[in-house]
Symmetry: C2
Subunit: 216 residues, 2 copies
DNA sequence: GTTCAATGTTGAGCGTGTTCATTTTTGAGC
DNA sequence: GCTCAAAAATGAACACGCTCAACATTGAAC
């Protein structure tokens, strides 16, 4: 068997990942160059592209591991006997606190992760789908306990919750919200609205009046 | 006054915009080069960067106009006497149908628009804030008619609706949904859930059981 | 018509991410 | 220990977005 071969490959990959992580953290994603990463890892430029399809894939690889760890941790530390709202806030806040470690890099990650191509997209989808499944599980549990409407589709509710989380995250990372606390506050408010709903039980869904004023 | 000066400037800007639009449509955003755009517009490469901060800004400029037109059209064509759900679907579907004209370019636009820098970000925010205000106006109207909960914060509800729209849009443009119809269907389902809410009126928000199974 | 400061334009040049023909390394078969 | 195809690594070369010192154009003042 090819022990040396595999070991060298693993070593090089590890060195490249470490170098990339260090330089991304030090200089940010855009400022860090592949040449510098390669030099720090002790390999040639071209070698980097043997292990990652492109620079964006390098960043995605680095965060895929860490993000899946955050998912595990978030559900592992979910307090028992907590309300559905608090459970959702707990899970999504875990991500926000993770991204708070380096908001500059977080911006690049979230930006890159949303529109990936090819294998990287599939890798992310393999992380995302089970995650959304587990969030949906929270709604299923609430249904089982008679707390949530029976007609509700858990996966749709999970997607809505994720959408609200993503919006708060993006607003924060774009500087529209001042800090982590503000982002968490917006997240909670948005989720609260989703749980309580908009319409009154009456529900005679007719008549919506005209709009005033146009934009500049 | 400097009539010729202004006219030349306006002409050049128009030519650059036309050239950029044509080439982005023909080849896609990434494949189209600034050199080619400049050549088609009859100017030097450097001149392009006088009118747009960078290539991404060029794309953003092109779509800022068109998007604000879509906003106007969406609210102008809002049928009277329609349900809140149908009103929301109408507004957000307008955007989806607009993006459906060129989904490849739409991907680049949505991707670029989400994380803009500097003046481009402000320009987008000046488009987005009033838009969200008008969506919030739909909820205010529903409240005024006694259809929506009085405690609801209209802007939060609007942001939730936008988040659901964005999620459906991103899923579609990433190929997770097959076509425009599927995206519109997901949008409607998600909004329906937001309007009806999750929790039962009972609301004794306690007890949420354990999760099973970890991810690979 | 000439002057000249302000404004607008230019394209060679820089540093970047990425490719790929070439070179080096590896280990099973003998 | 040698052979040699397969695998891995290399770095020169390429095309790109973008900058900026140099150059061209404009029009108010005289």
């Amino acid at each position: 068997m090819s022990g040396l071969r595999a070991k060298n490959k693993a070593d090089k990959e590890a060195r490249i990942r470490e170098a990339a992580w260090a330089l991304f953290a030090e200089q940010g994603y855009e400022a860090a160059t592949v040449r510098e990463i390669a030099q720090r890892a002790g390999v040639a430029q071209g070698t980097v592209f043997v292990y990652a399809k492109d620079k964006a894939d390098l960043l995605a690889m680095l965060f895929a591991d860490r993000l899946s760890a955050v998912v595990e941790s978030a559900f592992a530390t979910l307090p028992a006997g907590v309300s559905l709202l608090d459970a959702l806030v707990h899970v999504f806040s875990s991500f926000m606190r993770f991204y708070a470690q380096d908001t500059r890099l977080a911006r690049s990650v979230v930006r890159g992760v949303l529109f990936l191509e090819g294998p990287a997209a599939e890798r992310m989808e393999r992380l995302n789908r089970p995650f959304l499944g587990r969030v949906a599980g929270l709604f299923v549990a609430a249904q089982a306990q008679g707390l949530a409407r029976a007609e509700l589709v858990p996966f749709v509710a999970a997607l809505n919750a994720f959408a609200a989380y993503f919006m708060a995250l993006a607003s924060w990372l774009n500087g529209l919200l001042p800090d982590l606390a503000a982002a968490e506050a917006q997240l909670r408010l948005a989720l609260e609205h989703q749980l309580l709903g908009v319409l009154l039980p009456s529900s005679s869904p007719i008549e919506l009046p005209t709009q005033q004023g146009a934009a500049p």
